[in-house]
């Protein structure tokens, strides 16, 4: 089969690889009908997250049709079922899964010693996302083996196009969880840093959850226009002061809720010296993340407010203003998304026409063009916001 394979920093190729096989009775194999490139795939493309090895198949936003099931799937899936594959692999049986904390499933990371060493305790296995999270082959491929398939799936009905359902795998529940983590109240202003695909989903989620005002911060005009279309007031941080505009929009109080939909690769600007320093330190491996957004959120957030972090961080961040964080009595909530905790509700909203997540797709191309689309997406060329690949 064809698959997008990581060969090293900025080197992803469309390779021919052997087909996946059932390895465990709880496995299923799906024929992928649609998959997507996620913003967090770019961290792997840049080799900023340790634990990738040449030969790893990329991709964790995938859906398709079940073509083979193991003997232990117990009738929960059958050939021909149409499923979206959550990016977090879950067993559905461990203590964390029972609590709904699916992204920290205690069972599914098959390289848990690595996870234990690096994070203190292992987290769930993830598709196509380093050997720290199991080294599972990803879904940017023609076929995908889904481990623990009896639990790791979202069954979806026929009659709704892939494009509306695919993002249940990651970015829609990720944006949703980021907004839910904010305990949004009807009087709240929610400020969201980053208008990439996750940021866009977060904006819509905050609107659906009833925020009084949603403010979106970015510097890419097409992303800002999409944010505005979704109901956000926008701030272009290259042309205006984020601090002054937020002050103005909140009568000097600051937003009650702040969401980081940017993560470890904050934009670098000469007018923000900390971003230059972070970039230099990241280059020479003295710091793994560029946490400018975290610093800014802590500074601008209204005292007593909530900071929700949906953007991916990989390791160590410097100069986090813990003094302001502590003295302002802020709360931080974060984590990889507990996808299956949210997807029943989100699927219902899609079915009822409340939201159509396909709005974010700007490019649909064959899988073979995936490698070049990594560059287009990374460089924000051709007004690219979200790429869907068709095997």
């Amino acid at each position: 089969m064809k698959a997008l394979v990581w060969h090293g920093k900025e080197d992803i190729r469309c390779d021919t690889v052997t087909d996946p096989e059932i390895q465990d009775p709880r496995d299923a194999i799906i024929k992928v009908t649609s998959c997507a490139i996620c913003g967090s795939d770019l961290h792997l493309f840049h080799n900023f997250i340790p634990g990738m090895l040449p030969g790893d198949i990329m991709g964790h936003e995938t859906m398709g049709e079940v073509v083979e099931v193991g003997s232990g799937v117990d009738g929960k899936l059958k050939k021909g079922d149409r499923i979206v594959v959550p990016f977090t692999i879950i067993c559905g049986e461990c203590d964390q899964c029972k609590r709904g904390n699916f992204s920290v499933c205690e069972t599914t990371n098959r390289k848990r010693q690595l996870g234990d060493k690096v994070f203190g305790h292992t987290t769930a296995g993830l598709f196509g996302y380093t050997h720290l999270t199991g080294g599972y082959p990803g879904g940017q491929a023609e076929y995908l083996r889904v481990p623990f398939a009896d639990a790791t799936h979202i069954k979806v009905p026929d009659g709704i196009p892939d494009e509306q359902l695919l993002f249940l795998s990651d970015i829609f529940p990720t944006g949703w969880q980021a907004a839910v983590h904010c305990d949004i109240e009807p009087t709240d202003t929610v400020a969201i840093w980053g208008c990439g695909p996750v940021g866009q989903m977060t904006i819509r989620s905050a609107i659906l959850l009833g925020a009084n005002q949603v403010i979106a911060i970015d510097c890419i005009p097409e992303r800002l226009s999409m944010a505005e279309a979704g109901g956000a007031t926008t701030i272009n941080f290259e042309t205006e002061s984020v601090l002054e505009r937020l002050d103005h929009l909140t009568d000097g109080r600051g937003p009650e809720k702040c969401i980081d939909a940017t993560g470890m690769e904050s934009h670098v600007m000469a007018s923000q010296p900390d971003t230059l320093l972070d970039r230099a330190k990241q280059m020479v491996m003295l710091e793994s993340d560029r946490p400018h957004v975290l610093r800014e959120m802590i500074y601008v957030c209204r005292p007593g407010g909530i900071i929700s972090v949906a953007g991916v961080y990989s390791g160590f961040s410097d100069k986090i203003p813990m003094g302001a964080f502590m003295n302002k009595g802020l709360t931080m909530r974060t984590g990889q998304t507990h996808v299956n905790r949210w997807t029943d509700d989100l699927l219902r909203r899609i079915e009822q026409g409340e939201i159509d997540p396909s709005f974010v797709i700007t490019h649909t191309v064959p899988l073979e063009r995936g490698p070049e689309m990594y560059q287009v997406f990374r460089d924000k060329r051709d007004s690219c916001v979200k790429v869907v690949l068709k095997p």
Partner: protein
């Protein structure tokens, strides 16, 4: 065909049969080679500065050579990073500093002035490679003035933004009155 990546595959996982075209361009490979060269030269200058100064007849300038070595290592690491363009421009600047230091040693009374001249020639050649690589690895991001497609009609709400806001307001007001959880 042998593929290194297949050695570390977990049993049963897909293995590479035939590899596709690499995204790496010749200029990326040149940048990589220059990066490793820079680190090698930097280590030599940092740990064996006397050998360098003796070869060039510049005895007494060991500290300067060490500093240049540290600079070479940093620009080498930068050239190997995602920001290779910055690293390569740093190398171009470093070539200028190297040349200036060597020209200052190109005096009639220097018994090793032949070596200095040879080193200058090498620096010139490497500087050309550095400059070429820096030019060709410029980031391909669109300029701020580039024409862009905007998406003002992509709300994502099939029933319209106003309807969604009204619905959310009704729900949150209802919850506020009843105290129901969100």
């Amino acid at each position: 065909m042998f593929h290194f990546g297949n050695i570390v595959r977990t049993k049963g996982d897909p293995k590479i049969v035939d590899s596709g075209t690499s995204l790496a361009r010749p200029e990326d490979r040149l940048a990589r080679a220059l990066g490793w060269f820079s680190i090698g030269l930097g280590l030599a200058e940092l740990f064996a500065p006397r050998r360098v100064t003796e070869t060039l007849g510049m005895e007494g300038h060991e500290t300067l050579v060490r500093a240049f070595g540290a600079r070479e290592i940093i620009s080498g690491i930068m050239s190997l990073s995602v920001d290779k363009n910055a690293g390569l421009w740093a190398r171009v600047g470093g070539d200028g500093l190297d040349a200036a230091a060597l020209i200052s040693a190109l005096t009639p009374d220097n018994p090793k002035k032949g070596n200095v001249a040879l080193a200058l020639l090498m620096i010139g050649g490497i500087a050309m490679l550095d400059y070429r690589a820096a030019q060709e690895t410029k980031p391909k991001r669109p300029s701020p003035k580039a024409r862009r497609r905007l998406y003002p009609d992509r709300s994502g709400f099939p029933k319209g933004l106003a309807a969604v806001k009204d619905r959310a307001r009704q729900l949150t007001n209802g919850q506020a009155r009843t105290g129901a959880p969100s």
